[in-house]
């Protein structure tokens, strides 16, 4: 379970909810444009300790079978994961 991007992104005046309730986890835009640097995993150094996953404020790191994956649509490039990793398995590289 996780908020995810939807097809329908814009709402006309007549479609906006009349009360304050709406579907949970409804995303219409990514955050990747905020980033000037991006985390890149060096899987040779990674031991799957999950500390980067635990401390990512945006929850964009997932680890399956010791393989670290980053959802670059929503990573803001803060660099916390890179600092927290004791094995230097995450390097921040400039976005182009």
């Amino acid at each position: 379970m996780k908020p995810y991007l939807r097809e329908k992104k814009t709402f006309g005046f007549n479609e906006t909810p009349e009360n304050t309730a709406f579907e949970a986890g409804y995303l219409v835009m990514v955050n990747s444009g905020w980033r000037s640097i991006r985390p890149v995993i060096n899987s040779e150094n990674c031991v799957g300790c999950m500390q980067c996953y635990l401390y990512c404020p945006d929850g964009v790191i997932s680890i399956e079978n010791k393989t670290v994956q980053i959802d670059y649509d929503f990573c803001k490039g803060c660099g916390i994961c890179s600092k927290i990793c004791r094995l230097n398995a995450i390097e921040m590289e400039a976005e182009r």
């Binding site: 379970m1 909810p17 949970a24 986890g25 835009m29 300790c49 635990l54 404020p57 803060c78």
Partner: protein, 299 residues
């Protein structure tokens, strides 16, 4: 039992939000919800976490979540809990995430009332030590010496002239069922306390330090580090209150350098040696009391 990264569910309940890069508050909300799971009903008052989480149609909570009035976190939690109970729903947690201003200043009356009634709610204060969402004004939890837009630093006055309110002990003084302090820098400790609180019947309060890189003047990559240092240098402590007793969870043999902690942050950079000595003295006074009066427990 202590919660580690491996114990957390893979679900993400706070995702795609618009918090600044490296926001400590968003990390606290994200992980607390991962402990509480799908049946958490979250209440968020005015403040950064509601502002970054609900921007129709970008709605970043996967679980049930609602914005309350600024002052009304606890009273809305009371209503949410009673409403769910009236509907016959039993397996849920009514959890609030309020800022320091929303908790120690404007929301304190509603919170005090909820503790007085013993309502079965979990109130989490993410403390970034100022009113961040409106542009860094001083709150009752802004520490002595911090520069904010309402406590500027100049020739005569060096930032905030008042000490930080002791919200943890204010909650405890109500004889609350459970209260704890935490920091996002020691995540396992925080999450273990969230888990423990969720299993206790009655009112629960967790006060978690959640640095704001924007308001504190630290790099966005350093939020977690600075949230560890505040504990290591003794300006924050990890403790619990339960059954009428205070327990200190971590008793550092030696504190790290306070001035090093302060000088890393833009909000404290103006402090003089005299100011810093005042801060060190009040830290030592507090720790003398803690070590005299509180039990020592496991980390």
């Amino acid at each position: 039992m202590s919660i580690t990264a491996r114990d957390l569910c893979r679900d993400e309940f706070f995702y795609g939000h618009k918090a600044c890069a490296g926001c400590g508050g968003s990390l606290a909300v994200r992980n607390a919800l991962k402990v509480l799971g799908r049946n958490a009903f979250a209440v968020l008052p005015a403040g950064c976490m509601s502002a970054v989480g609900f921007n129709f149609p970008q709605l970043c909570f996967a679980n049930n979540a609602i914005i309350s009035t600024f002052a009304g976190t606890a009273s809305m939690l009371t209503g949410v809990e009673a409403g769910l109970r009236a509907k016959g729903i039993t397996d849920f947690t009514a959890v609030g995430f309020a800022g320091d201003g929303g908790t120690a200043d404007i929301g304190i009356q509603a919170f005090s009332g909820a503790i007085d009634r013993g309502d079965n709610i979990l109130y989490i204060c993410y403390d970034n030590e100022a009113y961040m969402n409106t542009g860094i004004q001083k709150s009752g939890l802004t520490p002595f010496g911090a520069k904010t837009t309402t406590t500027p630093s100049g020739k005569n006055i060096h930032g905030n002239i008042r000490p930080k309110k002791n919200m943890f002990e204010i909650a405890a003084a109500h004889d609350i069922a459970y209260a704890a302090t935490a920091t996002i820098g020691y995540m396992e400790d925080f999450l273990t306390k969230v888990q423990k609180a969720s299993e206790i019947n009655g009112t629960k309060y967790i006060h978690v330090i959640a640095p704001c890189p924007t308001g504190w003047g630290v790099p966005v990559s350093d939020t977690v580090e600075i949230a560890r240092e505040i504990v290591n240098c003794g300006l924050w402590y990890l403790a619990e209150y339960e059954n009428g007793e205070f327990t200190l969870n971590r008793n550092p043999k030696q504190f790290t350098d306070v001035s090093e902690y302060l000088k890393k942050q833009g909000r404290f950079r103006h402090l003089t040696d005299d100011d810093i000595n005042l801060i060190i003295n009040s830290r030592d006074e507090k720790w003398n009391k803690i070590r005299k009066d509180w039990k020592f427990g496991k980390d």
